[in-house]
C-alpha cells in the first residue's frame, strides 16, 4: 500500500452538496445532479474532464449513477454504482482513490444521493419473516449497543442526551443540515421514547440529499490543497451478536475487533499517522450511543472511557478533538448514499478554513468515519 501511495497521491479538486432534508418536489436524480454540478464547478472542470464515476446509493435502484449522468449529458465513461449501507459514499470514494492510485485515471467523480421515506428504515436486508417477527428494528439494535455502553463504559442517559445537545449546537451553524435548532438535555431526555434508553432526539432521521467530490491525481503544490491520505473500507469479523451485520446470533457482544476499528487501523497505517495527529473528526452518529461507541473504536478514548471523554469536553468545538462540527447525522439527517460524502465535503471545508461559524481553527488533518449495514465501515483521512 505504502509503495503505491508514494507513486501517486490523490487530491480533492472540488466538492458539492445538496442540502440534507425533505424535498417533496425534487427527484433523487435532480438532487444528485445538483451536487455533481456544484462539485464540477468548484473543481473548474466539466464534461470530458473526468474519466470515471463512482456513485454510492442504497435505495435509488437500478443504474442510479447512470441516471444522474444521463440527465447531465455526461455519460459514456464507466459509471459504477456502489451499495455499502451507511458507508456507501465512503466505499465509492475508496474505489475512486484506488483507481487513481493504480494509474487507471487522472480524475474521477464520486457522488452519492438518497431519497428515503421517513420513520424507521425498511431494508431489503431483512427477510420477510424477520420483519413479521418484529426483529427488523434498527433502533432496537442501536438501543442494545447503547445499553451495553451503559453497563460497561460508565455511560448514562445524560451522556446520551449530551451527545445530541453537542451535535445540535454545532448543526445550528450548518446551512446544509436538516435540523438547525439548539436542544437542551431536558428536551432530548423528554422527547418520545423510541427504544429505551434511546429517545427520538437521540436518533438521526433518514432523509434526502446528495453530495459529490472530484478526485484527481495530485500535481505540484497548491495553497489550500487537500489530499486523501487514506480511504479504508472494511467489513465485520464473525462472532459478535451486536455487530452492524445484525446477525440472528453470535458468540459474544464484544471482544471481536469491530469493522470500525479494522478500518481505522488500516487508514492510520495507510496515512502513516495516529489518532493523536487528527484535528477534527466527522463520525457516524446514527444515534447518540453510536457516537460514544465510535470514540472507543476509533481510539479517541480508551475502552470504557467514552462517558468520561464526553464529560471532559474533549470532543467539543473547544476541546482537543472536535467531533461532528457539521452537527453530525443527528442534525443533518442521514441520506444513506450521501452521508459519507457529506462528511468529506465538511472536512474539505474545515481543512481549507472555509467552514464559517463551525470552523475548527488551524485544522490540518481530518478523519471521516461511517459504519452500518453489511457490516461496512469506512475511515477516510484527509490532510492539508
Amino acid at each position: 500500500m505504502t509503495g503505491r501511495r508514494m507513486t501517486t497521491s490523490v487530491e480533492i479538486a472540488g466538492v458539492g452538496i445538496h442540502p440534507f432534508g425533505r424535498f417533496a418536489d425534487k427527484s433523487v436524480v435532480q438532487m444528485g445532479a445538483e451536487a455533481v454540478r456544484a462539485a464540477l464547478k468548484a473543481a473548474a472542470i466539466g464534461r470530458g474532464d473526468f474519466q470515471a464515476a463512482f456513485c454510492g446509493t442504497v435505495y435509488t435502484g437500478v443504474a442510479a449513477g447512470h441516471k444522474v449522468l444521463t440527465a447531465l449529458g455526461m455519460s459514456g465513461i464507466p459509471i459504477m454504482n456502489v451499495e455499502a449501507g451507511c458507508a456507501s459514499g465512503g466505499a465509492a470514494l475508496s474505489l475512486g482513490v484506488e483507481a487513481i492510485r493504480a494509474g487507471r485515471y487522472d480524475c474521477v467523480l464520486v457522488f452519492g444521493m438518497e431519497k428515503m421515506p421517513s420513520g424507521v428504515i425498511r431494508s431489503s436486508f431483512f427477510e420477510p419473516w424477520r420483519e413479521q417477527a418484529g426483529l427488523a428494528v434498527n433502533p432496537a439494535y442501536f438501543a442494545l449497543r447503547a445499553q451495553r455502553l451503559m453497563l460497561e463504559s460508565g455511560v448514562t442517559a445524560d451522556h446520551l442526551a449530551q451527545v445530541s445537545v453537542k451535535n445540535h449546537r454545532h448543526g445550528v451553524h450548518n446551512p446544509y443540515a436538516m435540523y438547525r435548532k439548539v436542544f437542551t438535555r431536558a428536551d432530548v431526555l423528554g422527547s418520545a421514547m423510541v427504544c429505551p434508553p434511546l429517545t427520538l432526539y437521540m436518533l438521526c432521521a433518514p432523509n434526502e440529499g446528495a453530495a459529490a467530490v472530484v478526485l484527481r491525481r495530485a500535481r505540484g503544490e497548491a495553497p489550500g490543497r487537500v489530499m486523501v491520505a487514506a480511504a479504508a473500507l472494511r467489513s465485520h469479523l464473525p462472532g459478535s451478536v451486536l455487530g452492524e451485520h445484525t446477525p440472528m446470533s453470535g458468540l459474544c457482544d464484544e471482544a471481536v475487533t469491530s469493522p470500525t476499528a479494522l478500518a481505522a487501523r488500516a487508514a492510520f497505517e495507510e496515512a502513516g499517522i495516529g489518532i493523536d495527529d487528527v484535528d477534527v473528526v466527522e463520525l457516524q452518529d446514527t444515534d447518540s450511543g453510536r457516537e460514544l461507541l465510535s470514540y472507543e473504536e476509533l481510539g479517541i478514548c480508551g475502552k470504557g472511557e467514552a462517558g468520561a471523554c464526553l464529560d471532559e469536553g474533549r470532543t467539543e468545538m473547544t476541546g482537543r478533538l472536535p467531533v461532528n462540527p457539521s452537527g453530525g447525522l443527528l442534525s443533518k439527517g442521514e441520506p444513506l448514499g450521501a452521508s459519507a460524502l457529506g462528511q468529506i465535503v465538511e472536512l474539505y471545508w474545515q481543512l481549507r478554513g472555509e467552514a464559517g461559524a463551525r470552523q475548527v481553527d488551524g485544522a490540518t488533518v481530518a478523519l471521516a468515519h461511517t459504519v452500518g449495514r453489511g457490516a461496512n465501515a469506512c475511515v477516510v483521512i484527509l490532510k492539508r
Binding site: 424507521v120 425498511r122 420477510p128 428494528v137 438501543a143 445499553q147 453497563l151 427504544c195 434511546l198
Partner: protein, 138 residues
C-alpha cells in the same frame, strides 16, 4: 392451544411440540465446536462445512434488552414488545423478542425460557408463531 391452528413463521427456526412448547434449531460445527442460529451448512465462525442441526436449550439468561414501542415496518403484531439478547448454555447468544415489554421488569442476567407466541394470523386464520423468551417462572 392446539397445533392445528398454529403455523411457524418460517421453516427451520424451531420445532413445535403438541403442548405448545418448542426448541430453537441451531447449527453445530464439529470443527470449532460453536453453535450458530439459524442453522446453515457452513460455519459462520470458522468457515468449515458440514454443520449439523441441533436442538438448543430452551433455558437461558438475559444479556441485554430494550422494548419496541412503535410498530416497525412489516410487523403486524402487538406493541409494545420486548427485544433483546439471550445467552443459552451452549454459549450462543440469540437476538429475540421478549414477552416482557417493560424494561423495568427485566434485568441483565435474569433466567429466561423459550416460548412460542403468535405474532399475527395468516390469510387462512391460522396463528403465525414465532419465538420469544419469557422471564423464568412467568
Amino acid at each position: 392451544m392446539t397445533t392445528a391452528t398454529r403455523v411457524a413463521i418460517t421453516g427451520g427456526l424451531f420445532v413445535m411440540e403438541g403442548d405448545g412448547s418448542g426448541q430453537l434449531l441451531g447449527g453445530y460445527c464439529d470443527g470449532c465446536k460453536h453453535y450458530h442460529f439459524p442453522c446453515f451448512p457452513s460455519c459462520p465462525y470458522c468457515s468449515a462445512e458440514g454443520c449439523v442441526e441441533r436442538r438448543l436449550s430452551p433455558h437461558g439468561r438475559l444479556v441485554l434488552f430494550t422494548s419496541v414501542r412503535n410498530r416497525p415496518p412489516g410487523y403486524h403484531g402487538e406493541v409494545p414488545y420486548g427485544f433483546g439478547i439471550v445467552e443459552l448454555p451452549e454459549g450462543i447468544r440469540i437476538v429475540t423478542r421478549l414477552t416482557e415489554a417493560d424494561p423495568a421488569r427485566l434485568r441483565a442476567g435474569m433466567p429466561v425460557r423459550l416460548v412460542l407466541t403468535a405474532v399475527q394470523t395468516d390469510d387462512q386464520g391460522r396463528d403465525v408463531v414465532s419465538y420469544a423468551f419469557a422471564p423464568e417462572g412467568e
